[in-house]
């Protein structure tokens, strides 16, 4: 059995996230230092739920769940269905709104010392602008614009259309000096033109991938399992597609910061993204099946980077694997 096949079997053995730790290898994303190349992916980190298991300040960054101008109730249940090596979710960005976030989660995370990527959700350009304008004056370290959620009305329309993305970015860019990350959808024929639109219109980084559109049908009833019919597929099942998309963007744009996510369940999975050209990696689904997974994965990656000094040194100064190869 190869090393890659064994990683998922070994993932939960003898790991105690509650021990204090710091990481030897960090990264820099759009000028913002991360203490580790590992962060949490938006939608999978809830402060109250997760901070009882580990200190978020030790990670590279915490991407918080998308916030909208007003509270959103999200989609009806059932919101999740299992699929081999993954899940199909349709939460619909339920969140308490940006004002609550600014009063509660964000100041608490900053008081703990966390590097925070505030994820921004909206149904329209006006929604995005309203949230960005409020976050611009906050302690958030970076803003991530979610133009790629498959589970809300008009969720991916901007993320699939370079022209619409250009229009949105022209609106958002003057509103803030904070680094703007565009979160990309994999539900497109070619991700490069979307990334180009982000790069050429003032974004500071891209993050990918959001989830793939998928659905599951209950074969006893013949009906969709999810109340929203379709949802977003995540987990190890999507990892190879995510690696391919990161690689494709990196080949097209050697210097632009990329945050990769998609089925990272081990330090080795994260390393694979770094070799594809990512500057940082965020953990999503793995945290849903083990709260401390981001810390475990960061610990594993730290050890893997010990024996890869060229890659570790490149990341530490905001460069990536393609620069090592040049």
């Amino acid at each position: 059995m190869s090393a890659r096949e064994t990683t998922t079997e070994l993932q939960h053995v003898h790991f105690d996230a509650t021990e204090p730790r710091t990481f030897r290898h960090g990264t820099v994303v759009a000028g913002v230092p991360w203490k580790s190349p590992i962060g949490t992916a938006a939608g999978t980190y809830n402060l109250d739920a997760c901070s009882v298991y580990y200190n978020p300040a030790i990670l590279g960054a915490v991407s918080t769940k998308g916030v909208s101008p007003v509270p959103w109730e999200g989609n009806p249940a059932p919101r999740t269905a299992e699929t081999p090596a993954g899940t199909v979710n349709s939460v619909g960005l339920q969140n308490p709104g940006v004002d609550h976030y600014l009063e509660d989660d964000l100041p608490r995370l900053k008081a703990m010392g966390a590097t925070v990527v505030s994820n921004v959700a909206g149904h329209s350009d006006d929604d995005f602008a309203e949230v960005v304008e409020k976050l611009a004056k906050s302690e958030a370290d970076m803003l991530e614009i979610n133009v790629s959620c498959p589970n809300v009305k008009s969720g991916t329309s901007v993320g699939k259309d370079p022209v619409a993305l250009c229009t949105l970015l022209k609106r958002l860019r003057p509103l803030t000096d904070k680094p703007l990350i565009i979160k990309l959808t994999p539900n497109v024929d070619d991700v490069v033109p979307i990334a180009r639109a982000a790069i050429e219109n003032g974004a500071d980084a891209v993050s990918l991938i959001n989830t793939f559109v998928g659905m599951r049908i209950d074969t006893h009833t013949g009906r969709p399992i999810l109340a929203n019919v379709t949802g977003g597929v995540s987990g190890p099942a999507v990892h190879p597609m995510a690696v391919a998309m990161v690689y494709k963007i990196r080949q097209a744009f050697h210097d632009f910061p990329i945050i990769a996510m998609g089925g990272t369940f081990s330090g080795d999975d994260a390393l694979e993204f770094l070799y594809a050209g990512a500057n940082a990696v965020e953990v999503g689904s793995a945290a849903l099946v083990d709260p401390a997974a981001p810390v475990r994965i960061a610990t594993e990656l730290d050890e893997l980077l010990d024996s890869r000094p060229e890659l570790a040194d490149a990341l530490a100064v905001g460069k990536n694997w393609i620069h090592v190869q040049d």
């Binding site: 998922t8 079997e9 939960h12 053995v13 003898h14 790991f15 105690d16 996230a17 509650t18 021990e19 204090p20 939608g43 999978t44 980190y45 809830n46 109250d48 739920a49 997760c50 901070s51 009882v52 298991y53 580990y54 200190n55 300040a57 769940k65 509270p71 109730e73 999200g74 249940a77 059932p78 919101r79 999740t80 269905a81 299992e82 081999p84 090596a85 993954g86 899940t87 979710n89 939460v91 339920q94 608490r108 008081a111 703990m112 010392g113 987990g235 190890p236 369940f265 689904s285 945290a287 849903l288 099946v289 083990d290 709260p291 401390a292």
Partner: protein, 272 residues
């Protein structure tokens, strides 16, 4: 992992960190019926801390099945924790095929517990696979001089949990589908009450079971102005409050069953 060591650390907000997912040993495994399994694991942390209606995530060792299987704690003895569950799919089939001495991954205890703080008469109303948390409530209430507990259990057919309940509760009444349901038992119990006992202000219903059963219990309680706590079940993503998948509508909006529940009062759910 040593739980004692875990507790030496505190997080930046001053609380102790909880142990995350871990691997534990299976110390008991029994098929109660063709499709209902009684599984006991050794987990000192859950044994010490689990309150009634709290649950734990069990995980498949097959990396194709990543989602947790949440099960309510049914009974605790020393450092051993017992779960009862039905075999309904590939994950639970795998757990059925485990043996004593095997290991399994676990996270917990999770969720909000029943509120057992008040004295009075407790009616523990469980249906089918909703009975395990009811059994744990009975265990927690046993020995309390300020409490009188009656278990009212509804089964499809086999009375798989009567024996467990009778260890903790002297008044266990059970019924199967052909004879009636838990509402039949509630009506019978009420008919037995006379004099001051017909004043139901000290009665607390704790219930867990199929959704229509709990709605019927809520309606029974509403009509008589009886306090009721409902232990809900919902399809869960993470089980510990981060993914916002297992929501239920409440008077406070959509709430997470795994962390803001699984116990909600009848009033919180707006069930009448």
């Amino acid at each position: 992992m040593s739980c004692a060591r875990t507790f030496l650390q505190t997080n930046p907000e001053g609380r102790a960190y909880l142990p995350s997912r871990r691997t534990v040993e299976i110390v008991g495994h029994e098929l109660l019926t063709e499709s209902i399994v009684q599984l006991t694991v050794r987990d000192e942390y859950i044994a010490q801390h689990a309150q009634a209606a709290q649950f734990a995530n069990l995980y498949s060792s097959n990396s194709l099945q990543i989602s947790p299987r949440p099960f309510g704690v049914a009974e605790v003895h020393d450092d051993e924790v017992t779960f009862l569950f039905a075999v309904v799919g590939r994950g639970t089939e795998e757990f059925r095929d485990k043996q004593v001495g095997d290991t399994i991954d676990i996270l917990g205890p999770l969720g909000k517990s029943f509120d057992l703080s008040e004295p009075g008469r407790y009616l523990l109303v469980g249906g089918g696979l909703g009975i395990p948390p009811i059994a744990h409530a009975a265990q927690k209430l046993s020995g309390r001089s300020d409490v009188q507990a009656t278990a009212l259990l509804g089964y499809r057919d086999v009375h798989f949990a009567d024996e467990m309940l009778m260890r903790h509760c002297s008044d266990v009444r059970a019924i199967e589908n052909e004879q009636g349901n838990v509402i039949t038992l509630l009506d019978q119990w009420l008919a037995e009450q006379d004099g001051d006992a017909r004043n139901l202000s000290d009665v607390h219903i704790l219930t867990c079971g199929p959704h229509p059963m709990m709605k019927a219990v809520a309606s029974w309680a509403f009509k008589r102005d009886v306090k009721a706590q409902m232990n809900l079940e919902e399809r869960m993503g993470c089980g510990y409050g981060t993914c916002v998948v297992c929501i239920t509508p409440t008077i406070h909006g959509n709430q997470k069953v795994c962390i803001e529940g699984p116990v909600f009062t009848r009033e919180e759910l707006g069930w009448e």
